[in-house]
């Protein structure tokens, strides 16, 4: 599982992967702090951790330019962070505080950061897919060169918008990279049990969209595939799909003990932790364990600071409950 073969495979850029290693840790550390926040009652609504899936976030979003557009899901902390959002603004959002990305109005499931091209997590499974193709449609109309990346889960592929959105992207030959982050579960259900056929890649191919699958816990492999695929999308090759196979190491939400799966399965999956795997790869490439540990610590310290500052942030002004609703007919007054 933790074969460091990737390190030797190509001209492995150890310095770059050192940083990506730190990025994976930043996600992990952010979510550990978020889970701590949930336990302490600071996170207010549901959060959906992506622990174990960091290689997908870093491998995909690490390859996006700042002006590329990203759409994510309810499980989007990692995607958002790597796209460039400030972790403190994200943590403040999770804590419902002033200075959160959305001013505390959205919470974990509705983080967006327009400044870094992140058009939103979404609380409705698969709803981001049509929005993503529409964003790409606008890019085409405006003759811009950026692209759209749309990430969704393996459970999302059974909803209609998956078909409608992929069909749309191909019919209009739009610059979209679809990424199915296959963590084997949809909430408490094994997606395989509710999914007919061979899954996202086969469905995409039936729509004429080239699709590739990758070990989503192998950051080097994800990074490489995303790089190649994005080049084709940027070159006007139309939409593409990548299936990144991974495993959701935590429960569906911060509150889900996930007792519906055997402990042994989870223990085995932990052995495949993408962070541990990249550490082995780096070590084989000459990066010391101490160096890796320092990177981890650095990320952990960053996010500990984020936690402290976010928890000290004030609530948003109550009046903000009435702003940003709409221009026409606003401001909304209290009905009494």
């Amino acid at each position: 599982m933790t074969q460091p073969d990737a390190a030797t495979a190509r001209n492995f850029d150890a310095a770059r992967f050192r940083d990506l290693y730190r990025q994976m840790w930043r996600i992990r550390a952010f979510e550990e702090q978020a889970l701590r926040g949930a336990k302490e009652g600071l996170v207010l609504g549901a959060i959906h951790p992506s622990i174990g899936q960091e290689a997908v976030a870093v491998g995909v979003c690490g390859r996006l330019n700042r002006d590329d557009i990203l759409l994510s899901t309810h499980r989007g902390h990692g995607h958002t962070l790597i796209k460039g959002a400030a972790p403190e603004a994200m943590m403040r959002e999770l804590f419902g505080r002033d200075g959160g990305n959305c001013g505390g109005k959205g919470g974990s499931m509705h983080i967006a950061d327009a400044g870094v091209g992140m058009l939103g997590a979404n609380g409705v499974v698969a709803a981001n897919i049509p929005i993503a193709v529409g964003a790409a449609h606008a890019i085409r109309l405006r003759k811009e060169s950026r692209i759209v990346c749309c990430i969704f889960g393996d459970g999302a592929i059974n909803r209609g918008p998956f078909l409608e959105g992929l069909n749309w992207a191909k019919v209009f030959d739009l610059p979209v990279l679809f990424v199915c982050e296959d963590n084997r579960f949809a909430a408490t259900t094994r997606t395989a049990a509710m999914t007919a056929g061979e899954g996202a890649a086969a469905r995409a191919e039936a729509l004429g969209i080239p699709a590739d699958s990758v070990d989503g816990n192998d950051l080097v492999a994800v990074d490489e595939l995303v790089d190649e695929t994005l080049q084709e999308v940027r070159a006007g090759g139309g939409p593409r799909l990548i299936v990144a196979r991974t495993y959701r190491l935590t429960g569906h939400t911060g509150a889900d003990p996930a007792t519906y799966r055997p402990e042994s399965e989870v223990a085995t999956a932990w052995e495949d932790d993408p962070i541990v795997r990249l550490a082995a790869t780096l070590e084989a490439a000459g990066v010391s364990q101490d160096d890796c540990a320092a990177l981890a610590r650095q990320a952990q310290e960053e996010m500990a600071g984020v936690f402290e500052r976010a928890s000290a942030a004030p609530w948003p002004p109550v009046g903000h409950a009435y702003t940003d609703v709409q221009d026409t007919g606003s401001p909304e007054e209290r009905p009494w």
Binding site: L44, G45, A46, G96, G104, N158, G160, M194, P335
Partner: protein, 325 residues
């Protein structure tokens, strides 16, 4: 009398109806593991995965399949998880389930129940908090139920399952944990019959779902001011119990309609307009409505709170009305 939660009562209702009638079955995401709130806990052990059926994440198909299954003589109980996700199945609910019987000239019935956990609850934010009962009450063909009490969580779900029409059954998420003593052997409630949640003389408060409890709180506060409020818990929004409401307003001469949903276009408008029209000469004061401002539900608690009608507002409105006429 046994202390029971709203959630447990709903679980019992489904289990009892499934025992009574083997055409009843439930379908929805994650049901085999008890459903997202635990409303289905253990039911798969008793009834098996065919009758407590998991479903792919495909609300349109869940609802549409229920329509077909209902036409074929079964009684599907559809779990929508959050009422907000039912918006992924609006065509199936409104264009298909509600209209099939009529369009087909009465040849086919669609006896399905759609359970929609509804309302704002613990920073669930804009896409997991909506109360859209007004929508469904507006659609010919649909029945709409909204239990406020533990007994009604049981009695109305049983009634919904036995009903031959498609029923939108709205269970308030913030009531799942609410406990009350209920008698053993609760049976199906009559659909369309309101309940007097509290008797009073001076002002009638018409309400439903979680707001019934807020209204009770307001009524208690009003006692100290010497105002006696009568609370009508509608229980069924379509058909709603005009007789019960009118009887009360004839007595008090004053009416407040309060609901959690957005005030503008909320179902309170229907009730207030009817009272205003039909009881014009009996009213001592204008009919007052209370509901949420026309804003999405926020995540941050101080902002989320703005969405809610607090008991004090109801009490204030009652006092203002009592001062008239």
């Amino acid at each position: 009398m046994v202390k029971t939660s709203y959630l447990e009562a709903s679980r019992q209702a489904l289990a009892e109806e499934m025992r009574r009638d083997d055409t009843v079955w439930a379908l929805g995401e994650d049901l085999g593991r008890g459903g997202v709130f635990g409303q289905y806990k253990g039911l798969v052990d008793e009834f098996g995965p065919e009758r407590i059926s998991d479903a792919p994440i495909s609300e349109a198909c869940i609802a549409g399949a229920a329509v077909g299954a209902a036409m074929m003589g079964t009684r599907p109980v559809v779990e929508m998880r959050f009422s907000d996700f039912a918006l992924c199945a609006t065509d199936e609910i409104v264009n298909q389930a509600a209209k099939a019987r009529f369009m087909f000239g009465g040849q086919l019935g669609v006896p399905l129940v759609m359970r929609q956990p509804t309302g704002a609850w613990r920073s669930s934010a804009a896409q997991h908090s909506q109360s859209l009962e007004a929508w469904y009450a507006h659609i010919p063909g649909l029945v709409v139920t909204a239990p406020a009490t533990v007994a009604d969580a049981k009695a109305l779900l049983k009634a919904a399952i036995r009903c031959d029409d498609p029923v939108i059954h709205l269970e308030h998420k913030d009531l799942w944990a609410f406990e009350e003593e209920i008698p053993a052997g609760i049976d199906a409630a009559p659909l369309g019959a309101a309940r007097i949640a509290r008797e009073g003389e001076d002002v009638t408060i018409v309400t439903w779902s979680k707001m019934v409890h807020t209204a009770l709180e307001a009524a208690n506060a009003l006692t100290d001011k010497g105002i006696s409020a009568e609370i009508i818990d509608l229980r069924t929004l379509w058909p709603w119990d005009r007789e019960a409401v009118y009887a009360s307003v004839r007595k008090t001469g004053r009416a407040i309609v309060a609901h959690e949903a957005v005030l503008v276009g909320g179902f309170g408008g229907e009730i207030a307009a009817r009272i205003g029209e039909d009881l014009y000469d009996q009213l001592k004061a204008p009919v007052r409505r209370l509901g949420a401002p026309r804003i999405p539900v926020s995540y941050a608690p101080p902002l989320e709170r703005e969405y809610h009608v607090p008991a004090e507002r109801i009490a204030e409105a009652a006092q203002a009305l009592a001062a008239r006429g």
